[in-house]
Symmetry: C2
Subunit: 718 residues, 2 copies
């Protein structure tokens, strides 16, 4: 069982920063061996690497598209199967008047399906829970959430989302596609699977954090693209959520992966649905298409849209606040896997019951169609979307109101369950429902004049609600534009999203950021807190720093690495002058992982008889690549007493030119350097280039802008 | 008259790097006064600054939209006027059989209009020539092209583009909108006009390169947005061409400005055209709308699209190569303004003649419509666009072929003339023409089957041709998607653009990059040349560096600043120890502009009687802001012999924590630091933090990947 933070008191995780998360290192490649390889690289070799990058992106796109197809087709078939089972029984029991038995059967069926989905997540791979978007945001930000891009996670994620959707929960299958795309990208780009113990000996060049991160961006974009049929939106999502240093070539590759992904999805689904070669369908989601000609908007409507944005912001904040309390409750009481499974089953049963009651109370859904029984609430909701087309009055306001209310609370309850599922579709549905309700009211008021068309208010409501919950603006605008196949509404959608974000931010953070904070992740935002200019590197850095001498005794290295109380990951290498006191001239930086590889490779390079001689070059760059990314702990390396007395020349392997910063540099400047270059360690030096401290991610993430100005988060070991 | 490079020999500008361009400094703000102000900033003050940023972006959007409206409306009216004049005469003379006189009248009229347009550009503001896109690219990259964002440039640009279009040249009015937007942004964000000598005392916080650059990005995006009705495309254009450090908040503001710009344009034009409140029209350009339902594409067509991409790439490369030779010829022979005006008139007359002949030879354009006489070739071309709709056979293949050929050479001849005009529309027209021709041929072959619709091939041809010439991919894909209001064609357009870029790059660079290189601009690309890893900072840096001591004699400072042979802009400040030899410990960095402001402000801070005492704080941050960006030369500051002997403490004003790099750092690493942070000066230090050299933009821009590996550009003083 995992250790629980604060088992007996109200958790204050939002004021804490966890140290359990390792950082990714987007600048670790600069060890001597790598530099040597880079020096040897010529134009032709570079071209080969570049072509490989494109090939990998194409593969990411294809596989992500195929996974999306797989989810779509399996959901459709399983839901169809469930429908037939339920239908037969309803027919049978309705004759005998046993509606309550039908309800029971239905709820049980849904709860069992969800149980399976919940069990695999809770017991096999807990990181596959939820949409995965917060986790991917963290990964792209540079925080290594354990297991987040493993093959096992992908398998659990895909099965989990299928079961959640088939189980009739108030969830969408779109969010998890982003996580799935990211895992696929991380897997393909490494040319091996550590879980399956297969190494294809390809793409070895990309076995480091920087390259892997770039491919994961592409994978996330491909996921968005497949989910919403929005390749440009996917690129913007990746950039908005992840990138810091914008690189044109990288962006093109991301775009390429996105395009291939939609293309693959559309090709396969068009064949599956029997109209091959028709590629004009969108992604997994289907909003129904807008008609450009009929649907315009006028300038007078802009205030109405802004008002809807305000409503969306408030409802979104309410959603997030409720979910926050719920999450707190879950952290405190529902931390055992079996309890989590039971909660998921309960939610499934309640959702089924609500859906059942809704269908039988409302006349709108008669005759009951296949899909409405399979996932009843979704069906009511999804039916709203094609009605963006002007068909006023085709919805009963009462039903809509009930639906909005019910679905709002169900979706809120569902998010954070230990099942694999997304929040995009529920948010859109809630918004579309109240938006349409709003539009219907307006058209009553306006006596059916042409502009008061409920369809477009449904769209705006959907945007407002989703914006109020997740607080994305640019990428979401584009996703909505692409998913509806309509660019005319770009401006009002942007206005609505901006308003929703501003209003929502006034109350509470966005849902993803909230969950990231609840996990105490050392997440770095785009800029340092604005009031932090008076802080300098001297104040934020960790000091004293454990340094290694350029020529160091093996025993010292082993002792430092074995010291569980410090557990540092990067060590400045300083001049070997034995007379130095605390401060010493910086010569380089060496990472824990590099030191471990030094000890791993037989014959152990730690073992060096001839004192001060150079180590025989037995170590290859390949050794570092083979060990990446799961470096073993130091305990697995046995060093004899004899070997401990040997000396090792670290300058052979260290990064000779680490980034440094003077101790008077202000926090925002340090932050900018850190963020723009994707650093993991930044050495703080004095005027004589002597090491005085070290800045890592947690030192920067500790400072946050709170309600009363700058606040400093405490550190938690869990 | 400007000095000409290489008057008597074939210029080899493409192997040169000019030193006449100053760099912008995106990190110059870190002087002590600024740091103090930043330390004082609290949350409320920050919020005010943030709100001002949004207000400025809204104003940029509105003004850019209005300028676009102005251009559109004036062009329409002037063209109408010209049409009536010509029409009357043609009617009069055709009766008498004097067609040749009509031709003469027409050509003369066009040539006179173009003459005016050319005269104002050539004699008043030469930087307003062309589309301005290369200049804006340079500005966003960090190179200060003189006068590029001045008010005068905007006025000349707007008048120039109106006259060029009315004069019937093979140009578009879209490209210049980008430049116009940028100038508007630069002007508004500073809250004053130096040209008009008006200071509104607002937005003083933004008077530095970093902030100005951000607003210029927004302005360029707003320009794209107004020109093509493509707000997202505008954002991507700005990012693709300019940004390096992606900042989420900045991107949102850019997006906001873009959206406001399209919105303003559409609102005003809808009122002007008499159907107010209908906001669904696109930007200046009008492709005609696609119908989603009817126009699909199938997977078999993909190879055809790729083939079109190849053709576009080859034709684009041909266009660029021809234009390259032409530009060389112009640099060599047509460097006097009066010759430039004559050339522009000649082109106008020839264009008129060709258009005249074309109209009278082809039956397609009967009856002659208003616009076809006003700008005949454009009209033939623009008429192609609405025909994206499936109306096969409505064009005579012969006419199309003639048009393609003629227009190709005319557009090529026109680009680079001393007139203000863009190349987007001509490229699109050429492409649409041969694309349609290709489509017609296909439909003959396919015997009119449904998929062989010439309309979509026209679109693909347009994309291929434009992509082959300008080599943009991501932003251009989105611009095309938004301008046609169609997202279905995203994937094939992307494929076509990618193919065109790859094929075109094989032969010759993109048009904009070519012109940037011909101007010997020290442009920094996205990444250092791949084969440059073996170079270190030691090899690329300039050395020895002119350093100032922390407490320095005023005379020394004045002498260093007056030294015309060096003309450095940044000086490392070193420890004042008089015993130091060549190397000395780095303490800070001070800029030429900062030193000049020190001397400007009465009472002159150079004058400090009490030796080694601190300067009385008379200098305010405001002094630096008021002097920005046109710092006077040192010669304008008079320093007496007495004053020369005084000492000045530079640590009061310097940047105390400049970015440094160790001398062993590889070129790509230096490059990444420089590019990611937008530096102007990077101090190279040794292991003891002593200054050994300085890296500036020109040191990095000198290394380029040529056909035979890494090549080093020579430096030219012109």
């Amino acid at each position: 069982e995992l250790p629980r933070p604060y088992p007996n008191e109200i958790p204050h995780n939002e004021k804490l920063l966890s140290l359990k998360y390792e950082s990714l290192d987007y600048d670790n490649s600069e060890n001597q061996l790598f530099l040597e390889e880079e020096r040897r690289i010529n134009h032709a070799a570079f071209r080969t690497v570049e072509i490989k990058r494109w090939v990998i992106c194409a593969m990411i796109g294809i596989l992500t598209g195929l996974v999306a197809c797989f989810i779509d087709i399996v959901v459709e078939n399983l839901a169809g199967l469930k429908y037939r089972v339920v239908k037969d029984n309803i027919d049978k029991f309705t004759e005998k008047g046993g509606l309550s038995f039908s309800l029971l059967l239905w709820a049980t069926l849904n709860a069992s399906v969800v149980m399976v989905g919940s069990v695999i997540v809770a017991f096999v791979e807990p990181v596959a829970a939820g949409s995965g978007i917060p986790q991917i945001k963290c990964y792209l930000n540079g925080v290594k959430i354990p297991h987040v891009v493993r093959l096992k996670t992908l398998v659990i994620k895909v099965c989990g989302v299928i079961l959640s959707v088939v189980g009739g929960l108030a969830v969408g299958k779109e969010g998890p596609m982003i996580h799935s795309g990211a895992v696929i990208a991380a897997g393909i780009s490494q040319g091996r699977s550590t879980s399956l113990k297969r190494d294809f000996k390809i793409f070895e060049y990309f076995r480091r954090d920087t390259e892997k991160r770039d491919f994961v961006s592409a994978g996330a974009a491909a996921g968005v693209s497949a989910a919403f049929g929005a390749p440009v939106g996917g690129v913007l999502f990746s950039l908005e959520e992840g990138a810091s240093f914008w690189n044109q070539f990288l962006t093109w590759r991301i775009f390429f992966a996105s395009m291939i992904s939609t293309f693959t999805l559309n090709s396969v689904l068009s064949v599956y649905h029997g109209n091959p070669w028709d590629l004009s369908s969108p992604g997994l989601i289907n909003f129904g298409r807008f008609d450009n000609e009929k649907m315009g908007y006028t300038i007078q409507e802009i205030p109405i849209f802004i008002f809807m944005g305000v409503v969306g912001g408030i409802l979104g904040a309410l959603f997030n606040a409720l979910n926050y309390w719920l999450t707190m409750f879950r952290i405190r009481y529902i931390h055992r896997p079996c309890l989590q499974v039971i909660e998921a089953m309960l939610v499934a049963a309640v959702t089924a019951a609500v859906g059942f009651v809704m269908i039988y109370c409302s006349r709108d859904c008669q005759p009951i169609q296949g899909s409405s029984v399979a996932y009843p609430l979704q069906a009511v909701g999804l039916a709203l979307f094609p009605c963006f087309l002007p068909t006023p009055g085709s919805y009963n306001p009462m039903t809509l109101g009930m639906f909005t209310l019910m679905y709002f609370f169900l979706a809120c309850w569902t998010y954070g369950l230990t099942v694999s599922a997304g929040v995009f579709i529920p948010s859109l549905l809630i918004g579309a429902a109240w938006g349409r309700l709003f539009g219907i009211s307006l058209s009553y008021l306006a006596k059916g004049s042409i502009w008061a068309d409920p369809g477009k208010y449904a769209l705006m409501g959907a945007a407002a609600q989703l914006g109020g919950i997740v607080r994305m603006t640019l990428s979401l605008t584009v996703i909505m534009m692409e998913a509806t196949g309509n660019v005319t509404y770009g401006f009002p959608i942007m206005l609505v999203l901006m308003t929703a974000k501003i209003v929502g931010d006034y109350f509470v953070e966005g849902l993803y950021d909230m969950h990231i904070q609840l996990q105490s992740v050392p997440f770095l935002h785009w800029e340092a807190p604005v009031t932090s200019h008076s802080l300098t590197a001297r104040e934020v850095m960790s000091t004293p720093v454990t340094c290694l001498r350029r020529i160091e005794r093996v025993g010292t290295v082993v002792d430092i690495l074995s010291d569980t109380s410090s557990n540092h990951n990067g060590f400045p290498v300083v001049e070997s002058n034995p007379n130095t006191t605390q401060v010493a001239g910086l010569r380089g930086l060496i990472l824990r992982s590099q030191l471990i590889v030094l000890g791993l490779v037989p014959p152990q390079v730690f073992v060096e008889r001839a004192n001060l001689n150079l180590v025989q070059r037995r170590l290859k760059l390949k050794d570092f690549r083979d060990a990446y990314p799961r470096f073993p702990p130091i305990q697995s390396i046995h060093v004899s007493q004899d070997e401990r007395e040997c000396m090792i020349d670290l300058s052979e392997f260290m990064n000779p030119t680490p980034y440094t910063v003077p101790q008077e540099a202000s926090l925002p400047r340090v932050f900018k350097l850190f963020r723009a270059l994707g650093l993991r360690h930044l050495v703080v030096v004095n005027n004589h280039n002597e090491v005085v401290g070290m800045v890592t991610r947690k030192d920067l993430a500790r400072y946050r802008l709170g309600k009363e100005g700058l606040e400093e988060l405490s550190l938690a070991q869990t």
